[in-house]
Symmetry: C2
Subunit: 362 residues, 2 copies
């Protein structure tokens, strides 16, 4: 079902986010800018309460539920402000006496900061001692905590939970960078949130999935827009939603569904990650720093063994039309982000570049 257009000017987009989206989604997004759903009006200039936009929003919500196989006791809302706003909405809505967090890097650290501003917050495990190159395991979750917060994938360091912690404590997860990339049991979570701009769509919309019964327990006065219940009650239309970003997310979810859903993309993502990590492990010019069992299938981070070859490697990368390979500005090195829409062909191009680099300078 998927069409991959490989032309001379094709760019292999390894950007960490905002990141690659399917070509057919981008084409449909362009069309909607001038004629949306046969209205002869642009999606950018029609009321969010028009029947066409309401139908689109309903479809987006239904696709989230279908793709993630959500049970009926979960509500789905589309919000604004990115995961950064969720960092404060989570404690605003859930922190009554104490929150527990696992620190796996920059995003967890920011989430912890906001929770500390709201109430007692305990960091029960952290991989900071080894520069966030692994996912902490084997810690004890205090029984008296309101919730445990984790970040399922760290885009900067390239780590990812392969198994989620199990306990009776409500589990909250920031899945911004790996939602829709692999199957998981939603019943494990009380709250799932994700900025769209990796596997779901463009920047400007944030997904939140809330288990019924977890809200309304803090006795805290919550400002209207920060209260999940506001958006649940109004089906993401309390105020004007980010219509275009929702639409492109809906298109991306349709693309995923039409190609075989999360099971299909999970297998494809595993194939891509195996290709790249296989090359990184066998090519003596590269070094990886993440503990192999905690490697992310979304973001592979690596370094050159010999930094003096940087210019040569960058040159080959550029010649191959590979874009977005620079590591995060806080850690340096390289990062290959292999989100859902990245075709295996692009990973093959990168692997071929690495092999050529190895032949020339190994």
């Amino acid at each position: 079902m998927e069409t991959t257009i490989m032309t001379a000017t094709k760019v292999h987009n390894f950007s960490a986010g905002p990141s690659i989206l399917p070509q057919e989604v981008l084409q449909k997004a362009a069309e909607a800018c001038t004629n949306f759903a046969g209205t002869n009006l642009s999606l950018l200039e029609v009321s969010h309460r028009s029947k066409e936009v309401v139908a689109m929003a309903d479809n987006a919500t239904a696709l989230v539920k279908e793709l993630l196989d959500l049970p009926n006791d979960y509500d789905v809302v589309f919000l604004q402000g990115g995961a950064s706003t969720q960092f404060l909405m989570v404690p605003f809505n859930l922190l009554k006496s104490k929150a527990a967090y696992v620190n796996t890097g920059a995003w967890s650290t920011k989430a912890i900061k906001e929770a500390k501003g709201m109430g007692t917050t305990e960091v029960i495990a952290s991989s900071e001692d080894d520069n966030f190159t692994y996912i902490p395991k084997g810690y004890t979750i205090p029984a008296d905590t309101d919730y445990l917060h984790i970040t399922s994938n760290n885009t900067i360091y390239g780590t990812q939970y392969q198994n989620f912690p199990e306990s009776n404590i409500p589990l909250v997860v920031d899945m911004s960078s790996d939602i829709f990339s692999r199957q998981f049991n939603p019943n494990q979570f009380s709250l799932i949130y994700a900025g769209a701009q990796k596997n779901m769509g463009p920047a400007g919309v944030t997904l939140a999935i809330i288990k019924k019964g977890v809200l309304g327990k803090t006795e805290r006065k919550i400002p209207t827009m920060l209260n999940y219940q506001t958006h649940i009650d109004k089906e993401s239309m309390f105020n004007t939603p980010p219509v275009f970003a929702m639409y492109v997310s809906m298109l991306t979810m349709e693309w995923l569904k039409n190609n075989g859903g999360v099971a299909w993309v999970e297998a494809r993502n595993k194939q891509k990650a195996d290709m790249l990590y296989g090359e990184l492990d066998s090519n003596p010019l590269f070094v990886t720093t993440v503990k192999p069992e905690d490697r992310s299938r979304m973001n592979a981070t690596f370094l050159l063994k010999d930094n003096s070859l940087e210019e040569e490697f960058n040159k080959l990368v550029k010649e191959a039309n590979i874009s977005g390979l620079k590591g995060h500005r806080s850690v340096g090195g390289y990062r290959a982000s292999m989100y859902n829409a990245l075709p295996p062909e692009s990973v093959q191009v990168l692997v071929d570049v690495m092999k050529e680099f190895g032949r020339k300078f190994g």
Copy 2:
């Protein structure tokens, strides 16, 4: 400079918001969905820290300053969450001992609710006594208040301030529905905010303009994302901004600048409003409810004198390809929104329909 394409399928878009944008902006937005700034990548899939996106954001900021003729002591930021999020950010950032609000309808009422949740909030004037059909005048602003909040234009009732209150109290204004539609003296205001989806761009981005020196006085602990200073310090890039909505806003501001800026559009908006109100005042089949001196040039609200003719009028409206004329669901009747991008030709089509309606049923 402006090109108006009038074809057989042309829709006259009187939608109250999200609302009409210039045709050339919509074309450029469509192009950016598949190839942004010559990158061969979609704007929807490139990093917000790429040089092309950073240049776009810088240009958007510069255009706001230029079009509004802002002095150097104002900061401009692009946020998410709409005016509804500003309703809480304003008191979070500015309310120390007491806030004053003028209530001119639904949006003011919502802003007042959020301020009351944060501290002492006094409604010093209101037009609720006459169903918000006028703008209150001649009230006293208490000297001990931290700020006075007003809503410059009410989209639902169709009222608009023609003169802003003058005092030494910091003035905060929600200009969501009339920013960039007319000239004003920015020095009157300490804080200006606006959801984009009327005259600035599509839904999904919010503009805030903050006078230097007004922040940091409340001693309140402000969550990172709700603190204006966060976004000022990081030039709207603290977290991933709503890139596409910012870009379309930038294009819309460029369109405005290229056509002659706010002075040009103010004259055009006056012309459009004069045409429509002229017809409403002379056609015996229509009734207006707003006090003439407080009428909005953005949103003209009106009723049929004889409701039994509703179907007939709606039929003529539909035949003329006029869209979005239904009044807000909370007040009924009709509402013609005449935002910047609506060409005078569209208002003429509506006036012609009203004249024809008058000839047939008057």
